[in-house]
Subunit: 192 residues, 2 copies
């Protein structure tokens, strides 16, 4: 998606060869209009899939998933990372290891919001090692629901995430794929 | 806002006399269309204010603030609760005690995204004791920015939040004010 690639080039901050900060428009400050357009693009990419629900994980997937939901006309469900005194214990759960934070999260979704009738589009901000997506796929499987696809805002094409997710036989689309980055700039690739 | 009051009546779960769960459409599952309409209502309520940025706090304020941002045409900035290895140490910070979680969070915003030129609309999902809003107001003050107003989705009118926020001389608007709740149902009130 040209609009997103341009924004990453203009405002993304590359640290070393594998950290890309997009705090200017996605992960701290949010450009809602850009995310609205990204949601529209997800709708175009997954137009042929039956989708009843969008699933993401807090925190940074929520805004993108919500904008996509406007175009799909379905609810968003976000997996929680932190235990809450308000939460039910009746949940689908999966462990997710985050390399960025060097920590394992137990992500959870209330059973009441996901059923075997659901056909789920998983949306997340980044795909790198694929751990968050695998955790969300586990939750969809546990509910007996179907996975309609996985939509990613920014994929790190030099990381193993794509291969790991594709091995699950899932329809994967990324809006921007960073093949390489460093002091010389960013090189983008294409979806398979 | 009638639409939100009706939804709270239909899908809100009241526990005891002070806990209101809105996991069905706001805090776990998100009805993006409803939040889009709530964003439109915030625009109407704060139409006369100069607003350059919307400020909220993760997690549950993000979706509402993002939808509001579509109508205001300004960026959203969300304060972070958890330290990140990707974060700069150059932040405005404030301590916020959460009664729900019985825990104090240090909420933080990067200095680069808030300046003395900004006129900020603070948006959050709930107003109860006012602690989250006071923390966000501290951050706006620390940046030397102006507070254009505080927009709340659901206010617990029987809690001291309104009084505490109004003491700061801030324009406060809540989309739904729960005056009383219990087994007999929910009674809504009005903004001053």
């Amino acid at each position: 998606m040209k609009l997103l690639e341009e924004r990453i080039r203009e405002q993304g901050i590359v640290i070393g060869s594998d950290i890309l900060k997009v705090d200017m428009f996605l992960n701290h400050q949010i450009d809602a209009s850009l995310l609205f357009e990204m949601g529209k693009e997800f709708k175009r990419l997954f137009e042929k899939e039956r989708i009843t629900k969008i699933l993401t994980v807090e925190v940074s997937g929520i805004a993108i998933a919500s904008m996509a939901a406007l175009h799909f006309g379905v609810p968003v469900l976000y997996a929680k990372k932190t235990p809450s005194s308000n939460s039910s214990s009746d949940v689908y759960a999966s462990d997710v290891y985050s390399f960025t934070k060097n920590k394992t999260y137990n992500i959870r979704v209330s059973k009441e919001f996901l059923s075997s009738d659901d056909s789920v589009l998983i949306i997340d901000d980044f795909l790198a090692n694929g751990n968050a997506v695998l955790g969300l796929l586990n939750i969809v499987h546990a509910a007996g629901a179907k996975t309609a696809g996985v939509g990613i805002a920014i994929e790190k094409g030099f990381m193993p995430g794509r291969e790991i997710v594709k091995k699950q036989g899932v329809h994967l689309e990324s809006l921007a794929i960073v093949e390489k980055m460093g002091p010389e700039g960013i090189i983008f690739g294409k979806n398979d």
